[in-house]
Amino acid sequence: MTLASLRLPELSLAAAAALTVLAAGCSAASSPGLTSPAAASVASRLPATPAAPSVTLNETGSTLLFPLFRSWASAYHQQFGQVTITTAGTGSGAGIDAASKGTAAVGASDAYLSSGNLVSDPRLLNIPLAISAQQVNYDVPGLSQKVHLRLTGSVLALMYAGLISYWDDPAITSLNPGVRLRHLRVVPIHRQESSGDTFLFSSYLATSDATWNSSIGYGTTVAWPHVSTALAEQGNSGMVSGCARTPGCVAYIGISYLTSALGLGLGEAKLANAHGQFELPDAQSISAAAASFVSLLPANETISMINGPAPSGYPIVNYEYAIVSRVQPSAARARDLQSFLHWAITAGNDPDFLNQVRFAHLPGDVVTLADAQIARIR
């Protein structure tokens, strides 16, 4: 069995150019009001301060967003003493459920709402809060952390399919000239539970490799090919610690866990984007990747940005979302929520907050669209 070859960079360049041109043409139809004065004035109509009575807003959901929410909660309470925000890292699915049932004011999610969620509960909104990414970490003993192995989606697909079994396989060494790799078994690690991270990673593999796409595909759960050395771990922290104790591992991990992964001595890969460029997930490459989709963003801000057309963009980026109901139990509660969410996507997008978790800030047009969604909360 051989996996299909990489997409030709030339083809990708042409496609990217065409996409950019078409995006400009289509954005007016698909995103009415994106840059209109009406949309721009929405922010001025949002409450700058919460209602006077003291209130507690509870947030639950994504573990990736949890650290950011915790620092936001503290800063917001300092600024507006009457508002207390409680946070909990319970997973994106639980966050969506809680927002839908009204048991949480905000459900934090790594993924946008599916059509099924939206059709079954049309009151829900998904509001982007920041831009996140996913890195690929590995433990190859003897390799300096300053060396970032170059990996492509196709090579990763072969590694996760068990068709590349050793780190010194020619498919890897040819991507990394000058790097001496040991004859060490590859240990692919994947998430045990259904997860947004698995969705993002398998999406990258599916968009990079036709054979993976047709045989395995992408999803929050994936039927991983049987590989004798493979491991399954729970949560991002499990992925980090599992990889740290397993020489030869390769693992996909949310960007807010990069600091702890590096602290445990794991290597960080440069991933090939659609142009064949190898990029690390830093602020520039994440922002560049997201920027190429801004003009396409529909009014409900649902979009997949995996392996996009930006030449210097990192390939696995996504919006982190607040899932909220636009129908709140009271006007005061609606005002509190509007005020906090607007703060989160403006003052809360300050590098002081985002750098802690390595997220990138939202582009201005995305903030405008998000404000328009926030304004719908009643």
Binding site: R7, L11, S12, A15, A16, A18, L19, L22, C26, A29, S30, P32, G93, A111, Y112, S114, S115, G116, N117, L118, V119, S120, P122, S194, F199, S203, A206, T207, N213, S214, S215, I216, G217, Y218, G219, T220, T221, V222, A223, A274, F293, L296, P298, N300, T302, I303, S304, M305, I306, N307, G308, P309
Partner: protein, 452 residues
């Protein structure tokens, strides 16, 4: 023939048979002379005859117009409104299926999507033209579809572009956004239009079969008949003439026009009610089934595209399965019961069997999804082979379409027969009423002439 050579007894001003004695006790100015009574009687009967004609003609015209409106306007509009919903829904199912088919979307699929959108646009134009003024809700729904459709097609075009350029996931997210626009904006509005068209059809049908004006006609009929009887009896006693030809002819015309009116109304009401029970009701149940299964088909496809791990799609699919049936209280079961013995019975029974087969495929689809066997799931959802969900759905859709067409035929022929029952009646009642008025005037004028 009605002339006489003997002066009438009334001239003697003595109590006569048939005139209550009490009247003679009335003050003189209150006591009417016989010629004056005859003149009053003539005026009253002529007015009553003309009222019979006027009210009868108006009633017939109202019922006939309502019945004709059901056949030629409301029923076609209802069918068009359903067509709008189905075109939109089919466009969405086709667009999402095409997405799953991969970059090499078949020409047939592209053409089907384009035909659906074109059909929806044409029907929307027809419905907008036919919408009466002063229906703000209908107007709002039509406007929602008119403004939302280009947004939907814009999202689909964006999804197709992304997909063709190799940005599969971005195309997938736009396919979902398009579907959300369809399910949250367009289909609810199309549903409201369909409900409004159905309500109008039911209202017109009720007007065509309604009883109030026929009851009023019966009251006029009884009053006029009683008046003619009493007038003839009074004349017979007062003038010693057994018959008054003019009044006799009027009575016969009244009886004939009354029987015609009642018979026509009975036939029209029976035909229209039968058309409703054996045509419209099962047709509506089948149409509701067709709408529901398209929604469920969308669930299968969007579940495969979104791969979110959410169970909302399978939950929705199962809810629709219970609604459509077959099963107790389900739409297909109700349609099968109403279609017993009709031409639509066979395709309805086939649709029930198809639905079971499709549900079985759906169960496999959702279990494959849980197992993350996306390749097998895709093959089952969009594959055309025997046992695939797509094939089972197409068969179910086809049999439903046949059954709906059969029921539509039953309704149309029944409603047309009902509308035809009034043919010629309006003119006949007008002519009869004129002749009745003339008969009364002529018959009583003969008597009056005898008093010089």
């Amino acid at each position: 023939m009605a002339s006489t050579t003997t002066p009438p007894a009334a001239r003697t001003r003595v109590p006569v048979r048939g005139v209550p004695l009490a009247r003679n006790a009335l003050p003189r100015r209150w006591q009417a002379s016989t010629p004056r009574l005859i003149a009053l009687m003539m005026v009253a009967l002529v007015v009553a005859a003309l009222a019979w004609g006027a009210v009868g003609a108006w009633t017939v015209s109202q019922h006939s117009a309502a019945a004709s409106n059901v056949v030629s306007v409301r029923e076609p509009l209802s069918v068009e409104a359903r067509g709008l919903y189905q075109s939109l829904s089919d466009a969405d199912v086709t667009a999402t299926t095409a997405f799953l088919s991969g970059p090499r979307e078949s020409l047939a699929m592209r053409q089907r999507y384009q035909a659906d959108i074109a059909q929806a646009g044409a029907v929307l134009a027809d419905l907008s033209a036919a919408a009466a003024a002063g229906e703000p809700q209908l107007d709002a729904s039509l406007r929602t579809v008119a403004t939302g459709l280009p947004v939907y097609t814009g999202y689909v075009a964006q999804a197709q572009t992304d997909f063709l350029l190799g940005y599969q996931l971005t195309g997938g997210s736009f396919t979902q956004v398009a579907s959300e626009q369809m399910h949250l904006v367009l289909l609810p509005a199309a549903r409201a239009i369909y409900n409004q068209a159905n309500a109008d059809l039911a209202a017109r049908s009720a007007q065509a079969t309604g009883l109030p004006w026929i009851a009023i006609m019966l009251v006029i009929f009884a009053c006029l008949g009683f008046g003619l009887y009493r007038a003839q009896r009074w004349l017979s006693r007062r003038t010693r003439r057994t018959f008054n030809v003019g009044l006799l002819v009027t009575s016969l015309l009244l009886a004939m026009s009354g029987i015609w009116l009642l018979t026509s109304f009975y036939v029209a009401r029976s035909d229209l009610q039968s058309a409703e029970v054996h045509g419209s009701a099962p047709e509506e149940a089948l149409a509701e089934s067709a709408i529901a299964i398209q929604h469920a088909r969308g669930d299968e496809i969007l579940n495969l595209i979104s791969r979110s791990g959410s169970t909302s799609f399978s939950g929705d699919f199962n809810a629709i399965r219970n609604q459509v049936g077959p099963g107790p209280g389900a739409l297909l079961t109700a349609a099968a019961r109403a279609n017993q013995g009709s031409e639509a019975a066979q395709p309805t029974a086939a649709a029930q069997a198809d639905a079971r087969a499709w549900y079985a495929s759906g169960d496999k689809v959702f279990s494959l999804d849980v197992a993350a066997s996306y390749r097998a799931e895709t093959g089952l959802v969009i594959g055309t082979g025997h046992g695939s969900s797509a094939a089972a759905f197409a068969q179910l859709e086809s049999d439903l379409r046949t059954a709906i067409a059969d029921d539509q035929g039953v309704f149309s022929s029944g409603a047309a027969a009902g509308a035809n029952a009034f043919t010629g009646l309006e003119a006949a009642i007008i002519v009869a009423a004129a002749a009745m008025a003339a008969g009364c005037a002529w018959g009583l004028a003969q008597r009056l002439r005898e008093y010089g």
